[in-house]
Symmetry: D2
Subunit: 178 residues, 4 copies
C-alpha cells in the first residue's frame, strides 16, 4: 500500500499523516485489475511489479488511501489512473459494496493482513480494465497472470502484507480459484 | 419473462416445456441493463417496452430461461443480445454471484414475484451496457430512465410480476434508490 | 451516529478527535438489528428512539466509530452491546463483506448520506438479534417495526442523515422492501 | 448431492426426475454448516461423512434439490434438518443472495463442478448452526474441521464433484481461507 504524492484537497503533509496514523484506522481501497472475456470470465489478473532498494522483487495490487472529502469511487479511479496510466479504461464496479474488506494491522497475526506503518481498513474491489496499461510512479511494470499463475506459490510469495491472500479471495469471488 | 424461440441444444419444444413446468422450478436469469459514468455511478436504467394485444403498455427487464448445458453467463449474454441487439456491448459481471434472486410463483403472494405460467427462480444481475441498443424480437423499444424515473409510481405500475420491485432492489444495490 | 464515551485503547479525547476529523475520513459501522423467523425471513427491524433537547423524536440505527487497533467485527459487537444491552444475543455476520457502504459527507448532496460533523465512511451490516434488547446510554428505547412500517414515510422522516435510505437498502438486500 | 426420499408436494417419482433431468438445469441448494464465535468468526466447518458401497470415504456439504412450489429458504431448512437433525438450530441467512453459485455439469471441465447425473445449478449459502447435529439418512456422521483442516489436501481429496472448491470459496467469503 503506497501513498499518493500529489497535492490535492484532502492531501496530508507527511507529519500530519503520522499524527493521524497513531489515532485512528486509516481508510484504504484495494483494487484487483482483471482482464475478462466476452462472457465476463476473468482470464488474467494484473499485478504491479516493484523492485525494492535491496533488489527484492515484489508484486502488488493497486492500493491507496481514501482522502478527506473524496468518494470511495473517486479514490478507486484516482489510484487506478495513478498506477495503470490514463488509458487503462477501468470499469469501476456499479455497486459500492466491496467484495471483502482487508484489515491491515501493524501487529502481525491479528488478521491475515499486515502493514507495519499503520492500522488500515481497505475496501477491496475487482476492476475489469479494457485499455492499455502503462504503469507510472514507482511501479516498474504491470504483468498479467492467469488465475492459476496468480494463485501459485511463486507469485504468492512475491506479494506482501497479505495481498496474496486478498488476491485469492478475489479469485474465489469470481469463481476462478484453482 | 419471455421464451426464447431459437432452436439450440437445450431448447425444448413447447409441449416438453409444459411437461417440465409442472414438475420443477425453472431456472431463469434477469438482467438490469444500466448506463454508468466514468466512476461507475449508475445514471440510467434500460427498460424494454412491450405493447400487449390489447394495447396495454408494459416495461420489462431482460429476462429468460437458462437452457440445458448452458452456463448462466452464456444465458445472460444470449438474452442480452436477443433483447438489446448485437452491438450493445454488455459488461457481464465478473462474479457469478447474483445481486439477489427472484422467486416467481404461480400463486400470487407467496413471494413478491409472480408468474402465472410457472414456478421460476431467477438469478438477477446488473449489467452495464456501453454500446448501441437495438431491441429485437417482441420488444418495441428500449427506453433509458434515470433512477428517480425508474422508481417512480408511473414506471413501477407499468412493470409486472414484481419486476418493478426487482428494479428497486437493483437501485438499492448500486446505491441509487431515491 | 453517536460517539462512544468509554475510555479504551484507541479511544480519543474530544480534542484529538476534532484534530483527526478535519484530516481524514473516519471509519464507522452501521448495524441494522433485525428479528427473523425460522426460515431466516426478516420480520422486524429495530430502531433506537432518541429525544433531542428540543423534544424532537428521532430514530436511528446502531452506529459508531471503529477504534484504533479494533477489528470491524469487534466494533460491531461493542456498539450493539452499548445500544442494545448485554443480553441482545446479536448474530454478527460470518462474512466481513458489508451489504453496502454509506459515505457521510459534511456537505449535503455529495451522497445521500450527511453528517454535519465529519466525513465518515460506514460499513453497513444486517444483524439478527435473538435476545432481549435493553437500550442503554442516550437511547430511550428500541422499537421493532415491520418492514412495511420501517419503509413508511412516517418512520422514514424520523430518521436523519440518510439512515432512512440505508434502512431501505437493508430491506432491499433481504428481499423485504415493500 | 443426494436426492430427497420423502414424499412431499413437488416430489417427483424417479422416472419423472429422469425425464426432467435430460431437459433442463435442475435447481439445487448447497449449504456450508459452520460454527462461529461470539464475534461471528467462523471457527469450524461441518462436513458430512459418507462411506460408499466400495468402502471409500467421502465428505460432503449439505445439498439437495429445490422442489416445485418450494421457496429456496424452505429448501435450505429442509435439507439442513434432513442432514443435521431436528435440533441443529441453523441460522438461515437473512439475504436470499447466495455467496456464489455452483454450476454442476455432467461433462467434466465445463466448470469446476461436476455431477455425472445431471446439469444442476446450485445456490450456495453459509449457515451457522448453533445446536446439536445428529446426521440422519445416509450420512454416517458430521465432523467439524477448522478452516485450515478443511482446506488441507487431505480433506479436499475426500470431497467430490468440486465441493472441495466450493468449500474453499466459502472460506474465502468469510475471510478464513488459509
Amino acid at each position: 500500500m503506497t501513498e499518493t504524492t500529489e497535492t490535492a484537497p484532502g492531501w496530508l503533509a507527511p507529519e500530519e499523516l503520522e499524527t493521524v496514523r497513531g489515532r485512528m484506522p486509516i481508510l484504504y481501497v484495494d483494487a484487483v485489475p482483471v482482464r475478462v472475456d466476452e462472457a465476463g470470465v476473468v482470464t488474467h489478473i494484473g499485478l504491479l511489479l516493484r523492485i525494492g532498494s535491496d533488489g527484492t522483487i515484489s508484486r502488488a495490487l493497486v492500493s491507496g488511501r481514501v482522502l478527506l472529502y473524496e468518494r470511495v469511487r473517486d479514490a478507486l479511479v484516482r489510484h487506478l489512473e495513478k498506477d495503470l496510466g490514463p488509458v487503462a479504461l477501468p470499469h469501476v464496479p456499479v455497486s459500492p459494496q466491496p467484495f471483502t474488506i482487508a484489515e491491515y494491522f501493524p501487529t502481525p497475526g491479528v488478521t491475515p493482513y499486515h502493514d507495519p506503518r499503520q492500522h488500515a481498513v481497505s475496501l477491496a474491489y475487482i476492476v475489469p480494465v479494457a485499455g492499455d496499461c502503462r504503469p507510472r510512479q514507482d511501479a516498474l511494470d504491470l504483468i498479467w497472470f492467469t488465475p492459476e499463475e496468480a494463485a501459485s506459490p511463486q507469485v504468492q510469495q512475491e506479494m506482501t502484507g497479505g495481498q496474496g491472500l486478498l488476491l485469492k479471495q478475489a479469485l474465489a469471488h469470481v469463481g476462478r480459484l484453482p
